[in-house]
Symmetry: C2
Subunit: 701 residues, 2 copies
């Protein structure tokens, strides 16, 4: 369905309230009252078969009776009546349904919810909800909800899966002084979901940033695609990231919380900025709704106090945007706008004597300098200077610099005058915060946003030389054999079909054949039992390494077969694998899972103790571009091992990145067949020498 | 000097202002004005040779002329006059000097600063400053500073090394609604330092919590000891923890910022709660000044909204206090105070309908239940309930429970009514915050404080069987030899003198002696070149392992000597070490450094790649108790390896902890001699089988 379809829902020219009430204690009264009070300019039609007038408005007994067109209908009647009022709304030609009523999927009544959606779609209507607070927009002058007031005006939109939180945040916009253009309650997401809203809001002229409070997705991949395409910043606060939190989330909304790591990876891939907590969601919404992305790493900090300056340097390192010293000529320029005991290094310390002039002059110089990619201005209130003067100096300097493609954030530490000055700055579209670390966190989010978008906006890569038919043939054969676990040889054949460099592995069914294949592969070799009934090959005495000649090969064949039979007498034994013995390399692991929210998802990490003890692994929802794979390699803690430590040559990270990307392509291509898989260990060699997948495992769906 | 000596400085009964001025633009005027305005009840003596009256007060031409006793003198005259006015103050019998004047150590004028201190001490006077804002106390009704007003009243004291930040934070107490009883500017700490203030404030009846903004210590160990002894919570915000931040701090105050890791370790050892940023310093000051420590891990959360509930569960995990489900009987009790669709699990979700009664009843039940060690109450403002009612329900339930030894924190998310209700709670000594994660962070700090104090309050352990004389003899011999690096054999002998289990290592000077000693030690053995001129023994071909018999021993001796001579013809060769070959074990590293702030400091980590690549190490200022050593072992990321992974038996962590403790004792005992040392690798065996130090290194001062 087209994005414009949501216009009737979110930008209605006329609105009906089905279940409007004359009783002020009822939601059906509150909603009508709210729509009127918010100043909605189109016709409002209260619907109630047993009333004549509500709050001075004429009441209609059914939606069919309304004299004009009705774009949106707010529904507040009990759940059992919803289906029939939808039918009427459909016949009337309503475009969007805002179903406040609860008692659907969230209490297990999923069947009714599905019927409601089916009925609405029959008439081409879209549904927000059910089980929501409603929707609020300053631009539309519309509070179609039971939240008490329109939020403090701002430029961002907030979509919340928790209704209670939406109401509380609505009120908090006034105390936190962070406004929103829109608040949208999304509830059960029976129809319109986060992805739809991201798409629609991305095209809404009144919205500059999209903030989301998420408990769980129904279709993670749909969200991922919508967020990737968004031209505006998307911020997500994902709750239920702890094990206990996930349990609480599940009982709360009935949606399954995905693994925190996979969500984190998906947000990163989609260029979605992750908020750390509720306060941070407000803070980042302010910055990302008012300021452009930060396109480079050079952050300038200007301060009047060494203390907050040092705290900002600490915060910059914490938030992955470490301060650097500016070029000499900029330092020389800055020195003109401070006393001799000031410091032109980053942070530039104008000293406590700095007033309007020094702030203005130094900021203007810094902000227009090409080295500077972003600016954070700090001010510690003093008895000698006036916060509002400083605020005006900042604003004027920014304006006069003529620079509009770099971000600026501000922090004032002080009392009421500082608060008023910060409020003035925010009204003038400069985000201001009560602590230096918060201002730094905010600008670092603008930097992180740009960094993520660089990868998100890469062209998609087409992986070549793939033999899908071959892979499907192997999988089909295993299924016909009644198995859902491929043998190592089969798994390697599938990997090979997707161009992954696996060790040569052949199946021998007799001792003579073993010797023959060993000579084909070339000594030294590894020999392993091949049996779908023996999963732990080493435990069964089914593995022999470093076999150097025919004699040893024969001996090993006999031993392995004898051990296997002793281990499990009735095992179905395919034979003994004759495998190239790969030289030593750095062990890594590649793997995939089928995430319940995001589908095929790629994992990468260093092997052995790193994966088993340190859990030093990283995820990406597949497919994964080579560049994104390179970021996976560099973001694990053990990354220096691959970059080369203790005088060792760097490992072949280019081929590793390509292999990860290929592997990810494979799990997408085989998404309907493969449930889990891994290549473990993969031995990575020196730069230019590639890698080898030594063992392979594929579990079918 | 006794703690009481600071009474004259911080609790004066009379005060003089030396450098008092009639010019309102001068600090000498502001200070007099501030003292008057703050309501100080004792005599105020402005001192100025060329004025008669300031702000209605009689002016004295010198402090000697003041009619009564003078407890404290605030000094605002230029630096060059300070020495002479101190002389006069001393003669007058002044007890404390509050030296606001700058232009001393912070601009390199250290000599004058030292003279000032010497002169003050001559007369038994203590100095706060120089280069400070002054000191402010609500209880004393005294603003002896140039900060504009007394802070919003509260129960904690704040000591700040940054004057600008102190002024800004003073004003911010009103906007953040977090009060302080005292603000003390500490400046150059020429005399009174953090340790002195911690000690004095710990005995001050008006102070319940001590908050510190620290840029650097002059004497870390003095602070450590004072903080350890403190019976009240101490909170530290240490700035300059990043590399860049440390550089900025150094240029700002001239004090050297210690390594972040060592500071972190020292704070933990002293039971000092570390604030993460400026906002967090306010937040934690509120909680720790109003609430008792949390003595167990069972946190109950009560909420009216699932959304904030889930966010609190996430935060609890993040802040190391993961939520657990309460016992059945408590759940049953809680169920009585919520609708059927509420949840009695943690968080207990009373649902959006919860008002005064349900909050009151469920909190009273939970808070008085023995399972509960601490409580966080969350409230999401709704249109149906009144925040002030909820606040009163919380307060009444806490009071009626009769429980006073468990902490409670609160979060209200909402608008102005929520803000007012939270302010009321704070006035009633219940810390309340605008976000669920902040309330959880605050209560987790109360838990962490109790955890740390458990270790801090352990009785000191006396390490026995130490042969200090033997160690000193070895060190003396090396010094006489003109060396500051001990050989491996010497270092092991020092370790042995302190009871560390080193591998038997003997020095052979001839081939025959090598064989003789090899038989004494017992085959297999390791043989190594011993030469102060060959540090990289392996590179020089100077190491042979797994020597199994006399013949191999002779051959190895010859080869090692030949290699050594080939490597460095003029090397001073002591001989060849004959060393017991320790069986394989888990590699760990023990080491020590002499930290510039804290002195002898212990390091522990897993060996090999863990220390070299992952920097997976942890520190403690020495000495280190066995229990503290056990915490070191468990806090490294690789801890599971020592606990036993992949079916391996657990390592002997008891002996490891004892060895760390012994090692730490050694570096304290030899603090005047040893600059750095390490035992690397140390091989740790299965439980009950101890460990062996395989290689040792000691660098002398």
């Amino acid at each position: 369905m087209e994005s414009v379809v949501l216009d009737g829902l979110l930008r209605p020219k006329s609105i009906a309230v089905i279940g409007a009430s004359t009783d002020p204690s009822k939601i059906g009264y509150t909603v009508v009252d709210n729509i009127i009070k918010s100043g909605f300019e189109g016709p409002i039609y209260p619907i109630n078969p047993s009333a004549d007038e509500i709050l001075g408005l004429k009441v209609y007994s059914s939606i069919g009776d309304c004299p004009g067109e009705v774009d949106a209908a707010v529904i507040t009647v009990p759940a059992k009546f919803v289906l029939s009022v939808i039918e009427e709304a459909g016949k009337k030609g309503v475009k969007g349904l805002i179903i406040i009523t609860s008692g659907f999927g969230e209490v297990g009544n999923k069947e009714l919810e599905a019927e409601v959606v089916a009925k609405a779609h029959e008439y081409g209507m879209r549904i927000l909800g059910p089980n929501i607070v409603g929707t609020l927009s300053n631009a539309e002058k519309l509070n179609a909800s039971f939240a008490p007031v329109l939020p403090l005006p701002g430029k961002g939109a907030l979509v919340s899966q928790s209704g209670a939180l939406l109401i509380a945040m609505d009120m908090a916009t006034f105390t936190r002084k962070v406004g929103f253009e829109k608040l949208i309650s999304i509830g059960n997401m029976s129809d319109v979901d986060f992805a739809d809203l991201v798409e629609w809001l991305d095209n809404d002229d009144n919205t500059s940033c999209i903030s989301l409070y998420i408990e769980g997705f129904k279709d993670g991949r749909k969200f991922l695609n919508a967020a990737k395409k968004a031209k505006k910043p998307v911020i997500a606060l994902k709750s239920g990231v702890s094990a206990h939190g996930a349990a609480a989330a599940a009982s709360h909304t009935g949606s399954l919380a995905g693994a925190a790591k996979v969500y984190g990876a998906a947000f990163q891939q989609a260029g979605v900025v992750q908020a750390t907590d509720l306060g941070n969601l407000f803070d980042l919404s302010l910055a990302l709704s008012l300021q452009p992305a930060m396109k480079g790493d050079n952050l300038m900090v200007v301060t009047n106090g060494g203390g907050v300056g040092v705290l900002s340097a600490d915060a910059a390192e914490k938030y992955n945007l470490p301060l650097k010293f500016a070029p000499k000529e900029l330092q020389e320029e800055l020195k003109k706008h401070m006393p001799p005991f000031g410091s032109a290094k980053t942070p530039a310390d104008l000293t406590g004597m700095a007033g309007y002039d020094w702030y203005h002059d130094s900021i203007k110089a810094a902000f227009s300098h090409e080295w500077v990619d972003g600016l954070t201005v700090l001010y510690c209130e003093t008895a000698m200077t006036n916060p509002m003067d400083i605020a005006k100096g900042i604003k004027k300097a920014i304006d006069e610099s003529g620079v509009t493609d770099k971000p600026v954030t501000v922090s004032f530490v002080g009392g009421e005058n500082s608060e008023k000055a910060m409020q003035w700055l925010v009204e003038n579209h400069i985000p201001a915060y009560a602590g230096p670390d918060v201002a730094i966190h905010a600008i670092s989010a603008l930097r992180e946003y740009a960094r993520m978008k660089e990868i998100v906006n890469e062209p998609e890569e087409k992986i070549e030389n793939v033999d899908r038919a071959k892979a499907m043939e192997i999988i089909k054969a295993a299924r016909e054999d009644g198995r859902n676990a491929l043998t190592e040889i089969e798994a390697k054949d599938v990997f090979r079909a997707y161009g992954l460099p696996v060790t040569t592995t052949k199946l021998s069914k007799t001792e003579d054949q073993a010797v023959e294949l060993a000579n084909e592969v070339g000594y030294p070799i590894v020999m392993k039992i091949v049996s779908p009934d023996i999963l732990h090959k080493s435990d069964a005495g089914g593995v022999k390494v470093n076999i150097k000649n025919d004699e040893a090969c024969r001996e090993a064949y006999q031993t392995i077969m004898a051990n296997a039979k002793a281990y499990k007498a009735d095992a179905n034994i395919h034979g003994v694998a004759i495998q190239e013995m790969a030289p030593w390399g750095t062990e890594v692991i590649l793997g995939s899972v089928n995430d319940s929210t995001f589908g095929p998802t790629m994992m990468f990490g260093l092997g052995g103790i790193f994966v088993e003890v340190l859990k030093d692994v990283t995820f990406r929802v597949a497919p994964v571009s080579t560049k994104s794979a390179a970021r996976m390699i560099s973001e694990i803690r053990g990354a220096p091992i691959l970059a080369g430590v203790r005088g060792e040559a760097p490992r072949d990270q280019a081929v590793l990145a390509e292999t990860i990307s290929r592997y990810a392509n494979m799990i997408v291509d085989l998404a309907d067949e493969v449930s889990e898989s891994d290549a473990n260990p993969v031995l990575v060699y020196e730069e230019g020498k590639g890698l080898k997948v030594v063992d392979a495992r594929i579990i079918l769906k």
